[in-house]
């Protein structure tokens, strides 16, 4: 009986320990691939922001600092760019941010560049939170976690340029890297779970007409897809599939036998969103996160292929 009790109380502790505190060198490959895909996506995404720097972030633009400081919504999110009068300085800082993203994509001085990238990312977001949308929000979490993950261990310039395990480059995994990886995986599950559960509150998702509504959103339409009105069953099945997949993703993705199928469905779903709703950066961002669920062996095999 005492053995049973001991097992009953200790097994969750052992499971917790194994989940968070057992680093695996092979997983560093997944983190490295994620870094490349994620940062390259974000680099292109933030290049598109350059023409709007003045309009969104300068004192002459839409949100003067003097007004931002009076609104609660902005007050709790400080930024070094509040009060910055020189437009040239803003462009220079944005240029630095883009350069950091490029360095992180190719894995140059990764350990030092990651915290700076997160800092500048947050400062730009905080300067004008009214122009933020999904990609900005999701990426904030992953920029933060990248600081703690040894993402430059593989497929990086650091690996080519610096000695193994110098202060500039570490080739092995540590507990802190592993924790960062776990937090990134959990974060994706949280995003899907909450998106799915929120949808359950909506009547349109229950009656299966939600996908129609999405396709008719005037500002997101790319092509005339009127033909889908003749196959309402397909629309309803799609809506239920999205619901089912989002809600169960956080459970099924941890099952080794199902993981790749679940991720593959996700890839198709996001490609669909990217192509038909004209949201390519959102699609690329979400798909890049999937690399974190692949094993080192799978990454090696894919790269060889």
């Amino acid at each position: 009986m005492s053995d049973w009790l001991k097992k009953f109380f200790l097994s969750p502790i052992h499971a917790w320990d194994a989940f968070w505190f057992e680093p695996n060198d092979e997983k560093l490959r997944s983190v490295a691939i994620f870094r490349i895909l994620f940062c390259a996506t974000m680099l292109f995404f933030y290049i598109s922001r350059v023409p709007d720097i003045s309009f969104f972030y300068s004192e002459q633009g839409l949100l003067p600092s003097s007004y931002a400081q009076t609104v609660d919504y902005f007050r709790y999110h400080p930024s070094i760019f509040f009060g910055m009068k020189s437009l040239t300085s803003l462009y220079i800082f944005h240029g630095i941010f883009l350069s950091l993203l490029l360095m992180l994509s190719v894995g140059l001085l990764t350990r030092f560049v990651a915290p700076l990238t997160f800092f500048f990312h947050l400062m730009f977001l905080n300067r004008n939170m009214t122009v933020m949308f999904g990609v900005d929000m999701i990426s904030t979490f992953f920029f933060l976690y990248l600081i703690f993950s040894n993402s430059g261990a593989y497929y990086s310039l650091d690996k080519k340029l610096f000695c193994k395990n110098s202060w500039l480059y570490r080739s092995s995994a540590s507990t802190i890297n592993h924790i960062a990886l776990r937090l990134m995986q959990i974060q994706l599950c949280v995003i899907y779970a909450f998106s799915g559960l929120e949808k359950l509150k909506g009547t349109r998702w229950w009656d299966g007409s939600a996908i129609w509504d999405v396709l008719t959103m005037g500002d997101m339409q790319r092509w005339d897809m009127s033909f889908v009105a003749h196959v309402p069953v397909l629309l309803a099945m799609n809506a239920y599939a999205v619901l089912f997949w989002e809600i169960y993703f956080p459970f099924l993705v941890w099952k080794k036998e199902l993981r790749n199928y679940i991720l593959l469905i996700g890839v198709f779903l996001h490609l669909g969103i990217g192509i038909f709703m004209n949201l390519p950066s959102f699609a690329a961002l979400m798909i890049s996160i999937y690399a974190l669920f692949l094993s080192g062996e799978e990454i090696k095999r894919s790269i060889r292929w």
Partner: protein
């Protein structure tokens, strides 16, 4: 003694401390997306400042609870001192940008602006008055556009891309005060 050395030792004390921090962090990650819950309300002073500081205060509800959130535009007529009035719509109905993300940011901005008279006056009007220095006053409207229903498209009366209705609400008349005073 470096942090890594401590990590390698995996001392029980460190594991407990890190676990406590992880629990705190995860607490924030799970509660933040549901800010109106009793639990979130009760404990928000503990985790909110931490989440806000790191920029992690977001909720997740893509196309939820209802996907239909008709695009919102702000129409304006700007009366000029010595010239005909200027009319416009923010943002433009069809994205003029190569990168769709630029339009998404403007759509999000338009919703924020139209949510309060203060935002309209201090942000949108401030911008318009700077952009068109001859403006004396501006009349603003909120425009939401409804698209065709499934039945309409099925019966062939409309295409999916056809707008069927515009809801126009008056937002008010605003003045470029500083310019007038000059």
């Amino acid at each position: 003694m470096t942090y890594n050395f401590l990590m390698e030792k995996k001392s029980v004390v460190w594991k407990i401390l890190i676990s406590l921090f992880l629990l705190f962090h995860l607490f924030g990650v799970f509660l933040t997306p549901n800010p109106r819950s009793f639990l979130a309300n009760a404990v928000s002073p503990i985790y909110r400042p931490y989440m806000n500081f790191l920029g992690l205060q977001h909720t997740w509800g893509f196309f939820a609870p209802e996907p239909l959130s008709p695009p919102l535009y702000i129409d304006y007529v700007l009366d000029q001192k010595n010239a005909p009035a200027i009319t416009g719509r923010f943002p433009s109905e069809k994205s003029p940008f190569f990168f769709r993300d630029r339009q998404n940011r403007r759509m999000s901005l338009a919703k924020f602006l139209a949510s309060s008279e203060d935002h309209l006056r201090n942000m949108f009007m401030n911008h318009l008055c700077n952009q068109y220095p001859e403006t004396t006053q501006a009349r603003l409207w909120r425009v939401t556009i409804t698209q065709a229903s499934l039945e309409m498209v099925r019966s062939g009366k409309k295409k999916i891309t056809d707008p069927v209705d515009s809801k126009i609400e008056i937002l008010g008349t605003f003045y470029c005060l500083e310019k007038n005073n000059e």
